[in-house]
Symmetry: C2
């Protein structure tokens, strides 16, 4: 049996232990929802005050040059690029994940004229499918939905597929798709691949160029801790830059945005993926927040993430056997992201009872209890205390109260 | 001749004089570039600190419900709607102006199948034309460019026009298009009209529903003072809600965004114009900033705006006659927005010399000196001091220095 003292020892040996103090977590709380909204690095508060008072308040329009706002998307992109195995000139930050996916999907289908299928999986995050449906309508394509195993996806690849669109780490199960193999097999079939890294970037090792990925999008507000609704990112491999054409052809993607020419002329590199003026306050917060990754290698983060989720599953096995939980995430750590999802028919109420104890996970319909382990600010004793709390909640029937059972709107 | 004392008297009588103290302007500066980036309302600093520390830092994921983030776009939209003569359920805030224009234009051309033309004017703001070019390519349409007078626009309306896309107040000249008449004539020709209110909202009276406008977009960071890159807005008249379909079909525009259904199902009203998760820090700053409009009627703002630009032109006539300036804005206040543009072959250097004196306007190629008069924080004596400074700069040759003549990147 694993004891709490074992976990405290692991925390003491943790090379990332000092990172936790960089985050402003509520006192006494265990926050396991960084896969939905990342916690706030403390230093961002002072930075934003400086942005407000000095850059906006006093600098005003001059800050485009004097505070470097004009280069901000590129600066932030370079920070994110390192975390996902991309070159700085292959990644751009701005807009939402959904909007970036629209740009990438349209650019991708335009690179495969004549092919009629966008291939994806039913369990993909819904907004990805909704965007694909719009692109399919625009270009008179069909969407081929397959079940979620890598084998199902590979079996559905054929020479009608223009683009394979997948999310690298599934938002419900936390399962990781084998990016290298699937990308290679898609290329063998003549298709391009667009990966959604929403639950990968900052949490698992991603090697976009090593895997020869064509395009990718990802989220700034989950494991990147960029703040609520932080700008998203889009990656396009350099080999596609010359031919790619995205449809949101706003002035910030123009070769000379301030020349004010009559006709659109794409900037030519990844800059072409920009559209309008970015939401600078949000983007400056994201830039600042990314500093917590300075000097940290993704393989170190990943090692701790794996250790945390392994520990969680081991403790679930040890302590929760009598209570009817299922494991919705892979047991094999190699194909599991930085979350563990359990199933339970009373999942909603159990999550509410945990939140009332200051342990914040989330619930996904119909029966998923989702726990995200952000290695920057979650420790081993937190994992122990979480499983212990679940055991107590189940043993005592604490979950079975009106206030926990009554469903509120889930965000 | 108008004296400085005359202007001070006008300031003393100004019903909006107290608004100036609500803004954090640099000491001693006259800021005439609010049409590019609006000044910061002071109270937004404290509000953003609260957002950071309390809503993000402590509330974390709970803030979607507890701090009302989930309703934020709708709340901000209601504030903007009042300023442009729209109903609260006809306007949505989020994304950039360019992205919103793409949504609106696609929705509009889909409502006019069979018609082959998007009509606009050559002098429109470039990003609007760039977005129209992309939409035209997608739908196999052509763009008909006309010259900038209302007469040119009206003469080009015929039954091939699907959508007329115009900017209400021209960014260079400040000329106002007659929204009511042009919209009516476009409807008579069977076309829809999409107006860009970037230089209108918060500065001139706009009556979208009174003018029977179909769709509109606008900017949050100019006269609305929402902060750098603040989210933009999009308006769709209620009569089009049932039929409209926009292409950026992200989950936030879904009827049940958290039901996670396989197929996209539009929310049905203006909510359908949403796409991904909005940049909340930027949007919360915009919401807070809009409080300076509380209790202020647009006709009062407009009256002061007209008085300021009339005074500016009168002083230019009185003081700058010897120096070769032209007036690029209409002399008729009824068709002039909240800016006055002058022309001068040394315009760039003159603007730099003014900035060095703490008077901030901007320059637009090839020869436009652009002065924006935001009635919330610009006073009559500011106008006097500006023209007096230009006169001194011209009289002394102060503009003719290496440091002013050498062009830097213009943003």
């Amino acid at each position: 049996m694993t004891t709490r003292q074992d976990c405290i020892t692991l925390d003491q040996q943790d090379p990332l232990a000092a990172c936790r103090d960089k985050f402003a977590l509520p006192a006494g709380e265990i926050y396991l929802d960084g896969n939905s909204l990342g916690a706030m690095p403390r230093h961002v508060v002072a930075r934003m005050q400086e942005v407000m008072e000095k850059e906006w308040g006093q600098g005003l329009i001059r800050s485009w040059n004097d505070a470097g706002w004009i280069d901000l998307p590129r600066r932030v992109a370079a920070r994110v690029a390192r975390l996902v195995g991309a070159a700085p000139n292959e990644l751009m930050v701005g807009d939402s994940t959904s909007v970036n996916l629209y740009k990438a999907l349209v650019a991708a289908v335009r690179l495969r004229p004549g092919r009629k299928v966008i291939l994806s999986e039913r369990g993909n995050f819904p907004t990805d499918l909704y965007i694909a449906q719009s692109v399919a309508e625009m270009f008179n394509l069909e969407i081929r939905y397959v079940d979620s195993t890598p084998e199902d996806v590979l079996a559905a690849l054929d020479d009608s597929v223009a683009v394979l669109m997948l999310t690298h780490v599934n938002y419900r199960s936390g399962r990781i798709y084998p990016m290298h193999e699937i990308t290679k097999r898609a290329h063998d079939a003549g298709a391009l691949v667009v990966w959604d890294l929403a639950h990968s970037a900052g949490a698992v090792e991603v090697a976009l160029n090593d895997a020869n990925v064509d395009m990718a999008v990802g989220c700034g507000y989950k494991y990147l801790n960029g703040g609520p609704g932080a700008p998203a990112f889009v990656f396009v491999a350099e080999r596609h830059h010359k031919e790619m054409r995205q449809p949101l052809s706003g002035w910030h993607g123009h070769a000379r945005p301030f020349a004010f020419t009559l006709g659109y002329e794409a900037a030519g590199g990844i800059e072409s993926m920009q559209c309008g003026t970015p939401p600078l306050l949000s983007m400056l917060a994201l830039e600042s927040a990314l500093q917590v990754f300075d000097g940290i290698e993704m393989r170190v983060l990943r090692a701790k993430s794996v250790a945390l989720t392994e520990l969680f599953i081991r403790l679930v096995d040890e302590k929760l056997a009598p209570y009817g939980f299922g494991l919705a995430s892979p047991r094999d750590a190699q194909v599991r992201g930085s979350q563990v999802s359990l199933t339970h028919e009373q999942g909603y109420a159990i999550v509410q009872a945990l939140i009332a104890r200051g342990i914040v996970g989330d619930f996904r319909m119909p029966d998923i209890l989702r726990f995200g382990f952000t290695p920057l600010y979650v420790g081993y004793a937190d994992v122990y205390d979480t499983v212990q709390a679940i055991a107590e909640i189940m043993h005592s029937g604490e979950w079975n109260q009106e206030k926990f059972i009554t469903k509120k709107a889930v965000t």
